[in-house]
Amino acid sequence: MLDKIGIAKRIAKEVRDGYYVNLGIGIPTLVANYVDQNISVEFQSENGVLGMGAFPFEGEEDADIINAGKQTITTLPGASFFDSVTSFSMIRGQHVDLTILGAMEVSEGGDIANWKIPGKMVKGMGGAMDLVASAENIIVAMMHTNRTGASKLLKKCSLPLTGVGCVKKIVTNLAVIEVTNKGFKLLERAPGVSVQQIINATEGTLIVDEDIPEMII
């Protein structure tokens, strides 16, 4: 079974040379730490920066340079700053190659819910609806089940949707799963996790071929 860092490490392998990547808050943010050092990748943050670097050293932080999680950051050589309209032109116009974000629920049809629990939690969608409506390549990073043990990979989402039919791939603590037009397809098992465990933790339709390889991290 993977922890959050394990999920981030596995997703980092999906990042290819020449990609512009938007990372959501939470596990997705960690992905930047594990991308192959030998490839060229630029990270976009929707508040208006392309070419994000590491966090600043103490005392070098600048209140005017933050990421979408409102964390202080630095920029790399070649970085650029821009306004929100330009930022979402990059996103809506499909100039960003890969979007990685968290989710509360994903349906077997690729619907995603991650912004609201009616009556309990309403933080807002931020840029997530724009991202999922436009991105061609969306990977969801999340735990396979919620805190009560219920599956987050469902036939149909129960929470208000963020987008419909948009998720392509899901990396959880248990598995790597592709969203196909026939439902979830199991691609890889996490180390030490059996196919049966994944079947048990998945409420939606799960297509399981013979010989599901253990993922390499």
Partner: protein, 235 residues
């Protein structure tokens, strides 16, 4: 040269009244018009509608206006860092319209640019699209979103000149440029106000035509919401 300079924040906010709609720049606490917000608190205007990506934190930014119950309606994309906001929203004291972030920016830009509405894919198939016209273009579904109408835009820039030309710094730019000229009156506050001719025309982010009033604010607090640093051991 048409000069836009006013002497202080009091002059800059002349004409602000109860019940008006305001656009306020900023992302989180980054690039917010601190001086205009403080003056709105002092003026005590009530029943206002605020269009701003976030709602500040409990004791800074738009949170200051929320504390005094001056805001009737908030239009934002993300309101997660403000307990008082959540309390007022869940109790029904505060009306809230949540809008996808890119749509929010574009609804400001549409107002700035003379577009009554536009189609966007964001929110299609979700409750954001409820009651709105949807239409298919090239096999994909889009939602019709309308431009905002607003009385004042309050923006914050790094440098400006007396003609109202603006230059922003870092990610403090965010929503500020698309709100310039998107309301009847745009008020720009800057950290450094210089005479005309001192800014390089090649480096202007927002031309002064979009600005009606500009003033220099002093002692910007620029509070950091999430201070994150690294050490050599934790790259």
């Amino acid at each position: 040269m048409i000069l836009k300079t006013v002497s202080d924040v009091q002059q800059a906010l002349k004409g602000v009244e109860n019940g008006m709609t305001f656009m306020l720049g900023g992302f989180g606490l980054c690039g917010i018009p601190e001086k205009a917000i403080a003056e709105l608190v002092t003026l005590g205007v009530k029943n206002i509608t605020c269009i701003s990506n976030n709602a500040g934190v409990d004791n800074f930014g738009l949170g200051l206006l929320l504390q005094k119950h001056q805001i009737k309606k908030m239009i934002s994309s993300y309101v997660g860092e403000n307990a008082e906001f959540e309390r007022q929203m869940l109790s029904g004291e505060l009306e809230v319209e949540l809008t996808p972030q890119g749509t929010l920016a574009e609804k400001c830009r549409a107002a700035q640019s003379g577009f009554p509405a536009f189609y966007t894919p964001a929110g299609y198939g979700t409750e954001v699209a409820e009651g709105k016209e949807v239409r298919e273009f090239n096999g994909k579904m889009y939602v019709l979103e309308k431009a905002y109408t607003s009385d004042f835009s309050f923006v914050k820039a790094w440098k400006g000149d007396e003609a109202g030309n603006l230059i922003f710094k870092g990610t403090a730019r965010n929503f500020n440029p698309c709100m310039c000229g998107a309301s009847k009156i745009t008020v720009a506050e800057v950290e450094e106000l210089v005479p005309v001719g001192e800014l390089d025309p090649n480096e202007i982010h927002v031309p002064g035509i979009f600005i009606q009033r500009i003033f220099e604010g002093s002692k910007y607090e620029k509070r950091i919401e999430q201070l994150t640093v690294r050490t050599d051991h934790n790259p």
